[in-house]
Symmetry: C2
Subunit: 235 residues, 2 copies
DNA sequence: AGTCAAATATGACGAATATCATGTTTTAGG
DNA sequence: CCTAAAACATGATATTCGTCATATTTGACT
């Protein structure tokens, strides 16, 4: 466990109303506040590992995190990207199992650890939080099923385009209109579910076709309609 | 909506203790019983359609059901198989969205419809049921993420073998030791995420290699260790 | 500033798997 | 029992995509 850092008060947390605690009353928030442990992680650090026992959930205050599983041949598959306001590690806690994925920071991060017993006690007492959790889980599940369908049916080129759109939706744009996340080509490949070389080639193609603009890990969308068309999505 | 049929009482339901209501007290069960609507569907009928509004959840009393999404080119992807004791349609209800999948019976089925308000009211009042729901959702999500990883990383041959094992786990064996579900080759393909012809070929290969025995839609596993090895799973 | 490792890039090649075509078998319905 | 449609089967071919090889560039750390 990381050493405690400057305690971020939930009630002042900028992500409070986008999080699972959005509907929660102030006294419950104070209760969480009293028992959580805030820590910080530097870019590239591991918060928890696939296969280890779950002792609580992490609420992200600042930074970006990838959740990945190892395939049979040791290849990483990124199954989720998390941002401030999201919580991670709840699946294992709720199913009473070990972590099914590894959480790695993509940024310097501040996260608040809520121990198992506290989280469970709150779910027991607070139907609104339980309901929000179910909503989150339902949405995640719908997204996962859609991803399964696309992985099974769409060609890689479309999936790469789709992933660029997904990254934009998830992390937004920075001041220069670049997608606000720096992933290696390998990480993008592990998100798309394809080989690294294939991803590199397709990104270069999109670049040549003036759909996106590349500068190192920075990606800027310069022809959104064409990108959407390339992704073959109409909703 | 189907006409009401013989009312199956929850408290006498054979699946009661495998279902989400396993931890529920009798008076709550009586409450559900009073308001639910039992109906029956013949093989091949649609219980609900992707894109339509969710008005409640269905609890399966008897029969087998597939949940499938349509891909962009109109191809079916089976995202879940349900059996007695399972509930379906909860995702849409919880996320407040429309059904993201279509539910089609694979058998003659008896299902109990629990209207939205009743289900919501019960979740509000009963923390144990809420908690069971979260458990179910968490497990589904873990399975979905594992499926994503395998779809992205494993060759079709392994996935077909894996799917046969999955079908056995889900529906068990009949009196003649056949896997207790009759799917068309196309449906198996839509579960695996591959072309129908490829599935046909691979099943024939497994047959020739004495891993399975085929008789129409009946599949019998005759060399389980080899099937597990072919699926390339070691857990 | 210099060095080394990691990341990016690109070509050549081959394997896996989708697609197309066509024929056979099974099944459901009258 | 007969017929049509659906499901199954199999071969030939096309194509996507992964793998391997090899540069080149970038970035992190003395």
């Amino acid at each position: 466990m990381k050493p405690t850092v400057d305690h971020v008060e939930c009630k002042n947390c900028s992500t409070r109303f986008q999080s699972v605690f959005c509907k929660t009353e102030n006294d419950r928030i104070t209760e969480i506040d009293a028992e959580k442990i805030c820590s910080s992680f530097k870019k590239g650090e591991t918060i928890f590992k696939e296969g280890s026992y779950a002792s609580g959930v992490y609420c992200i205050n600042a930074g970006k995190i990838k959740l990945s599983m190892l395939g049979d041949e040791g290849k990483e598959q990124i199954v989720r990207l998390a941002k401030p306001g999201d919580i991670i590690g709840y699946k294992a806690l709720l199913s009473g199992d070990r972590y099914s994925a590894t959480a790695t920071t993509l940024d310097d991060c501040n996260v608040c650890f809520i121990p198992r017993e506290i989280f469970m006690r709150i779910l027991q007492k607070d139907a609104a939080i339980s309901f929000e959790m179910m909503k989150i889980l339902s949405n995640e599940l719908r997204n996962a099923e859609e991803k399964i369908t696309h992985l099974a049916q769409k060609p890689v080129r479309e999936r790469v385009a789709e992933t660029i759109l997904f990254l934009k939706e998830t992390y937004g744009l920075d001041a220069e209109k670049n997608i606000n996340i720096a992933l290696t080509r390998e990480e993008i490949a592990n998100l798309v579910g394809t080989a690294t070389e294939t991803t590199i080639r397709l990104l270069s193609e999109f670049n040549k076709e003036k759909i996106i603009e590349l500068a190192g890990k920075k990606i800027k969308i310069i022809n959104l309609p064409k990108l959407i068309k390339t992704a073959n999505i109409y909703d």
